[in-house]
């Protein structure tokens, strides 16, 4: 049965929820008896289907943050640009921010549409070796809002993982919205058969961000998702005129460095604020390529190299993908 059947009422909790068939919203739904009996809650066959689909994907990485606005999607975009700069590496970026899909714009793919073929949905290609999928490609206008509750978002994420024809990939990067909710649980659940190499957590130096990162770390530990490391964005700003550094988002509690030390997690790197990063994202171009000599590009590159190494070490360890 679909997560939210077409004849389900407005507040359907989802057919695989523990409350399926039992909430007040379920009264009168034609599927209520089936859901309440638990029959709809057998292990989702999609998990095995996705495992098969992902057999051609060597490494799967999630990009998470606790807080919004810390530069998660910006980082995901630079990560795939960086990985794909080696033209023999096949890379894809899956955007599961259903309500706020910014990846198409950042990758210069605004207005592109998704095509269906016999083997499923085709992702949109930036380069021959860099593919992207986002709900943004399914919306006809930049003003369209995706006003969906959790169960419907979960269904979309399942389709993205199961029905997109990714082909042979070295890396599948999954960009998520902030938080620890439906999107995050669903991605982890649907990839539970296929396995995820790990998660990268993005933060700014602020305690307000770190506070939410600790929750994100708690989420990862709860669902047994390995943490590749933490990236601290917006880490200082060098004035282009006088070259003095300002901490616009001061690390009042020691920033990511202290948090990583306290929680024994790798700090993958710190990326300074640079107006050219935002500008490149707005223009849908690779900051790494455009400003390769900048300190921020050097920081991104160093972080990307550590991620490559983590994935390589995982393979050599014989750790499961």
């Amino acid at each position: 049965m679909a997560d939210v059947p077409s004849d389900a009422p407005e507040h359907c909790p989802g057919t695989s929820s523990v409350e399926a068939g039992k909430t007040s919203a379920c009264q009168g739904c034609p599927n209520q008896r089936i859901c309440a009996s638990g029959a709809a809650r057998t292990p989702d066959p999609a998990i095995e289907e996705i495992k098969q689909k992902m057999a051609s994907v060597k490494h799967k990485i999630l990009v998470l943050s606790g807080k919004g606005g810390v530069g998660k999607s910006t980082f995901s975009a630079q990560l795939v640009y960086g990985l794909a700069s080696d033209t023999s590496t096949e890379v894809a970026l899956l955007d599961v921010d259903i309500c706020g899909p910014s990846i198409p714009k950042m990758m210069g793919l605004e207005g592109e549409q998704v095509h269906q073929s016999g083997s499923g949905w085709s992702p949109v290609y930036v380069e021959d070796n860099l593919a992207v999928m986002s709900i943004g490609f399914l919306l006809s206008s930049p003003d369209d809002a995706v006003i969906w509750r959790g169960p419907k978002k979960n269904g979309m994420i399942k389709q993205f993982l199961r029905d997109v024809d990714w082909g042979e990939l070295d890396y599948l990067i999954v960009d998520t919205p902030p938080g620890t909710s439906d999107e995050h649980l669903s991605v982890v659940q649907y990839l539970s058969g296929a396995g995820v190499d790990g998660a990268i957590i993005i933060t700014t130096p602020q305690e307000l961000s770190l506070q939410d990162v600790r929750k994100e770390i708690g989420f990862c530990r709860k669902v047994k998702l390995p943490i590749i490391g933490v990236v601290e964005n917006m880490s200082g700003f060098v004035c282009p005129k006088c070259k003095n550094t300002s901490q616009i988002f001061p690390p009042t509690t020691g920033g990511a460095e202290k948090m990583c030390s306290d929680m024994q997690l790798p700090l993958l790197g710190q990326v300074p604020l640079d107006p050219r990063i935002g500008k490149s994202c707005d223009e849908g171009r690779s900051f790494l390529s455009l400003e390769a000599e900048s300190p921020a590009a050097a920081a991104f590159s160093s972080i990307i190299q550590k991620i490559r190494q983590y994935c390589k070490d995982g393979v050599e360890d014989g750790s499961p993908d």
């Binding site: 909790p13 989802g14 929820s17 909430t23 606790g66 807080k67 919004g68 606005g69 999607s73 910006t74 259903i98 309500c99 706020g100 910014s102 714009k105 950042m106 930049p142 003003d143 369209d144 809002a145 995706v146 006003i147 969906w148 509750r149 959790g150 978002k153 919205p177 902030p178 938080g179 620890t180 909710s181 439906d182 995050h184 649980l185 602020q206 305690e207 307000l208 506070q211 939410d212 929750k215 994100e216 708690g218 989420f219 709860k222 700003f237 004035c239 005129k241 006088c242 003095n244 300002s246 901490q247 616009i248 988002f249 001061p250 009042t252 604020l273 107006p275 935002g278 994202c281 707005d282």
Partner: protein, 226 residues
Amino acid sequence: VAVGILDVDLCGPSIPRMLCVGRQDVHQCDAGWVPVYTDAQKSLALMSIGFLLENPDDAVVWRGPKKTALIGQFVSDVAWGELDFLLVDTPPGTSDEHLAVVENLRKHKVDGAILVTTPQAVSTGDVRREITFCKKTGLRILGIVENMSGFVCPHCSECSNIFSKGGGEELAKLSGSPFLGCIPLDPQLSTSVEEGKDFIQAFPESATFSAISHIAQAVLANIAAA
């Protein structure tokens, strides 16, 4: 003036820290849950899931229906008392939390929504969808705020547009919504909210305070004009 803040960002509740109320318990009274007050005069009342967590670092790993249920309780079971204003702080998006707030507040009069963006196109790109959400749910748009709008170097006074400039104002024009104003990036504001200090008391002469004050006045005027 008595103000309440309802924090419906259940996964990332920042309001308790920003308003320096740290570890607080929520008590019950006959009329429901008692909000947490920031001062003895009870001029600012808060409710957040942050107050309900045993450990502030505990993750709230909930799917939509559970979030919807708690938000319903926050609206109907908190004994706010007499308030001049209730502000609802939401997470990004157009999903369960936003629908829950709108649906639960529908029977009460909602004056409208303030939309916050940074100047960048990737931010205004998402706020365009938020505008559609407001239109579809019948929420009046009180106006758009352009946050993180420029940084004035404290050493040499050069202004850098770190997150671009003007996007919020452009969006307001494009969508026919009021433009409330710009707030600059300000390390003193960042530090104050981090430490739960009252920025307005500490830096009343700052350009940032002037910007915030101007926006507050514009919001009050828009509400009064309705």
